[in-house]
């Protein structure tokens, strides 16, 4: 069966990664690299350490479950093959990001995850909401990606290498550098957009337009954690400063509360889960901002636990949607009878999310409280934020794990039916794993969390996880959290009813800013384009020459003009005569009343210039110039008889303005040439060409040897431009003469 073959990929990867646990837990770092752009010092380099391994296990493990799940969930979708391809490509990009041993490798894979996310959110491309959400996710994470690139380049410059190993060792040097703050802000912009932190939180709930397996995989368990991964990765380098602490705990705290509050006001299961994901990401950011050993351990544990329970809840929500036909908690109820396995999975996951003994979530929450209570500054405030967030999370856990499965079915039009194994096993496995880690926290902590936390902290951490911490303020807080959550759950309905009137407008949201930018930027672009692209050749010419000449004039004026000497008027009679002919031709072209005469006098100018070339020993140039002039006149003659009668259409004012521009161009060019010939010539280049032409280029005509050999790449570029210009002319003229079907 095809799904078995596909499943062997993530399963094989998972087993391979699992086999590396022992070595990595001993502190080994597996590395492998391949020269990519050696001249730029860029390598394609991979590195497997504790942090990367923890992520890699989550990515490949949950990836396998999601593949299995999708084979049933999307079994009648005509684009199922496409889905498999996208999700496996995404998995590869994710693994590449977390295993990158080099900043450029990291960035390339990081961007690939954004692209995969775009196609997966927009998987149902016929729905406008999907397309809009996909574009939004791409724009937000893409903009963050650009900021990240800037941050990475700065980091590489300051640390002197793009290799992660070198960078991780140069934390002191980076933090004391003058560019530390811009670097930090750029990297944070990348991390915060990816992990949906305030003020970028809006794209994540909108991304729920994707099919449920995608939401479970990308937008809860893996991709949105990349921002947190990035923070964890660079924590030994960028972390530990005041600005790091303020940014991460501040933004993390805001996101944590915002997400938790929004979660319990929703009624769609996926929306609730999305907002709690935002909230959990806020918690992780806050913990990494604290940066104490305790906080880092808590972050690593919470990250794992959250990936397990949230993917289980998402997959269960999809199973409910599939089996009952709705995701609205106001319509669902009593589903435990028809789909007991899903109810079990949801229940276990929700208990872990709420942090109930003996699940892994409980240990994570205890560690979280311990970390905030022992925070170096603002411990009370941070603990309060954590308490509020956790309390709301308990309520959300009840909404998703209890409401749909117990009580009575609230909407009689729904006809729930049981779901098959491929829909209930994938949520059940991670949920059960949450219980297993809760019961036996020791091995998981020693083998997975400790090596990961050691990478984040930059030095090995003493980490021993236990279910029971004795009677302490932390336990009291945990109990109070559960009580608060339960109380809020029972009061939720009346509270929401009171809030209802103001609900539709939903108040001010940063998404408004996004919408405003999305409308405003094209408008701005349109305005500028309308101004610049007037469609009149004379304005284009005036803009181009005017700007070029103004820039040159500025440069000439600011540089020193001391060595300018008025060239002595030497030269023989025929040289002067040639100059006079050119001038006369140019003057006549401007004042004549006949178009043919204007063309002819322009030809005189051209031939005069060609004569100058001959006089100063450039036969190649002269020959080409003669040919060009001849062809131009032929072209002019061809066009002339199609034009209306010659008439003076422009006003005196515009002709005067043209005169000023033309004289300005002439003056500045003369000035430039004058400057150029007053400088002593650098002889090395032309002498080199002259000397090398015959021995290296096998030709005596230096001009030609330069064109076809020494500077052949330039020529190739030029003839490409010529070809494109010819196509442009052809395309512009063709419609007028076409229509006969001759081509």
């Amino acid at each position: 069966m095809r799904i078995a073959a596909l499943l062997s990929i993530p399963c094989g990867l998972f087993i391979w990664f699992a086999l590396q646990i022992g070595a990595v837990a001993d502190g080994q770092v597996l590395q492998s690299s391949l020269a990519w752009l050696p001249t730029l010092g860029i390598t394609l380099s991979l590195r497997l350490d504790g942090l990367g391994l923890l992520f890699a296990l989550l990515i490949s493990g949950i990836g396998a479950l999601v593949l299995l799940y999708a084979s049933s969930y999307l079994h009648d979708d005509p684009h199922l093959d496409r889905f498999y391809a996208f999700i496996l490509a995404f998995m590869a990009a994710m693994l590449g990001t977390v295993l990158a041993g080099d900043l450029i490798t990291l960035f390339v894979f990081w961007e690939l995850t954004s692209l995969c996310s775009f196609v997966l959110i927009g998987f149902d491309y016929q729905s406008q909401a999907s397309r809009k959400a996909a574009l939004q996710a791409l724009l937000v994470t893409g903009a963050g990606g650009l900021a990240l690139l800037g941050g990475i380049i700065l980091l590489g410059q300051v640390a002197g290498s793009l290799e992660l190993t070198t960078i991780l060792a140069s934390g002191e040097q980076v933090r004391n550098h003058a560019l530390y703050l811009p670097m930090l802000l750029l990297v944070l912009a990348g991390a915060f957009t990816k992990s949906a932190q305030f003020p970028f939180q809006f794209w994540l709930p909108n991304a729920m337009a994707a099919p449920t397996p995608v939401s479970a995989y990308l937008h809860s368990a893996t991709m949105v954690k990349l921002g947190v991964f990035l923070l964890a990765r660079f924590s030994p380098v960028l972390g530990g400063s005041d600005s790091w602490f303020v940014c991460l705990t501040g933004i993390g705290g805001i996101t944590l509360l915002l997400g938790a509050v929004r979660a319990i006001t929703c009624s769609d299961l996926k929306q609730i889960l999305a907002w709690t994901t935002v909230s959990a990401l806020g918690m992780l950011t806050l913990l990494l901002g604290l940066g104490t050993p305790l906080a880092i351990s808590a972050a690593m544990l919470l990250l794992t636990v959250h990936a397990l329970y949230k993917s289980a809840l998402f997959l269960a929500a999809g199973a409910v949607d599939h089996g009952a036909g709705s995701r609205d908690i106001n319509r669902l109820g009593g589903l435990a009878g028809t789909m007991p396995q899903v109810a079990l999975a949801s229940g276990l996951a929700a208990l872990s999310m709420a942090g109930v003994v003996p699940l892994a979530g409980f240990i994570a929450k205890e560690l979280f409280y311990e970390a905030t209570l022992q925070a170096p500054t603002a411990a009370t405030l941070l603990t309060l934020v954590a308490f509020l967030g956790n309390g709301l999370t308990v309520t959300a856990a009840l909404l998703t794990g209890w409401l749909p499965f117990y009580g009575m079915l609230k909407d009689d039009t729904l006809h729930p039916h049981p779901v098959d194994l491929r829909l209930w096993l994938p949520p059940l496995l991670p949920a059960a794993l949450g219980l297993l880690i809760g019961l036996f926290p020791g091995p998981a902590g020693r083998l997975l969390m400790a090596p990961a936390a050691a990478q984040v902290a930059g030095s090995p951490l003493p980490l021993s996880l236990g279910l029971w911490h004795g009677f302490s303020p932390v336990l009291l807080l945990s109990l109070a959290t559960l009580g608060a959550g339960l109380a809020l759950f029972s009061l939720r309905r009346p509270l929401l009813a009171r809030l209802q009137p103001s609900q539709p407008s939903a108040g001010w949201d940063t998404e408004r800013l996004y919408d405003w930018l999305l409308i405003g930027l094209p408008r701005l672009a349109l305005g500028i384009t309308l101004r610049l692209q007037s469609g009149r050749l004379r304005y284009y010419l005036m803009t181009v020459t005017g700007v070029a000449v103004a820039l040159m004039a500025l440069n000439l004026m600011t540089s020193s003009n001391d060595d300018l000497q008025l060239p002595r008027p030497d030269g023989s009679l025929h040289e002067w005569l040639t100059a006079l002919v050119i001038l006369a031709g140019a003057l006549f072209a401007t004042i004549t009343r006949s178009r043919l005469a204007a063309v002819a006098s322009l030809g005189v100018v051209g031939y005069g210039v060609a004569l100058v070339y001959i006089l100063f020993g450039a036969p190649d140039l002269a020959m080409t110039q003669f040919c060009i002039e001849t062809l131009s006149i032929i072209l002019f003659v061809l066009v002339l008889h199609k034009l209306p009668h010659f008439a003076l259409l422009s006003s005196t004012a515009s002709r005067l303005r043209d005169l000023v521009v033309a004289l300005g161009v002439g003056t500045v060019m003369t000035w430039l040439v004058w400057r150029a010939i007053s400088q002593p010539l650098v002889p090395s280049l032309s002498t080199w060409f002259l000397e090398q032409s015959l021995p290296a280029g096998h030709g005596r005509n230096v001009v030609n040897v330069i064109l076809v050999d020494f500077r052949a790449l330039d020529t190739l570029g030029e003839i490409t431009v010529l070809a494109v210009a010819a196509l442009g002319v052809y395309a512009m003229l063709k419609p007028r003469s076409g229509g006969e079907g001759s081509d």
């Binding site: 020959m623 064109l707 190739l716 052809y730």
Partner: protein, 135 residues
């Protein structure tokens, strides 16, 4: 616009000019000349012929669609640059035959490159001229 003198003269001039353009192309590496000016001479020859005999006759005389000349010129120049890659040298490195060829002296990829320029310039000019002359 019909001129008996031009029409008669160009019949004799056309082959001569084409021959001259080849001469310019081949000697270009050592004496004044080269692919660019050679291509322009081709264009001028056919342009005069077309002026005298009309656009349809001009196209018939050229036998090839000028758009194809542009494309093949670009292709020839590109191929001349790609050839050195086959022997492991960087893009656009000049390769020379060790045996001197008659007429042109040494033969090598720069001549091929110049041939590409020649074809492209001729094709481009004629493409514009023919399109403008279509009625």
């Amino acid at each position: 616009m019909h001129s008996v003198i031009l029409a008669t003269a160009i019949r004799l001039l056309l082959p001569l000019m084409l021959l001259f353009s080849l001469f310019l192309l081949l000697r270009g590496h050592n004496e004044p000349g080269g692919g660019f000016v050679g291509g322009l001479v081709v264009a001028a020859a056919f342009a005069l012929y077309t002026l005298a005999h009309g656009e349809k006759e001009g196209r018939r005389m050229l036998r090839v669609d000028p758009l194809r000349l542009v494309a093949s010129g670009l292709l020839v120049a590109l191929v001349s640059g790609l050839l050195p890659l086959l022997v492991g040298l960087p893009f656009l490195t000049a390769l020379w035959s060790s045996v001197p060829a008659p007429v042109i002296g040494h033969a090598g990829t720069p001549l091929l490159f110049d041939l590409g320029v020649y074809l492209l310039v001729a094709g481009m000019s004629l493409l514009i001229i023919f399109t403008l002359m279509e009625e």
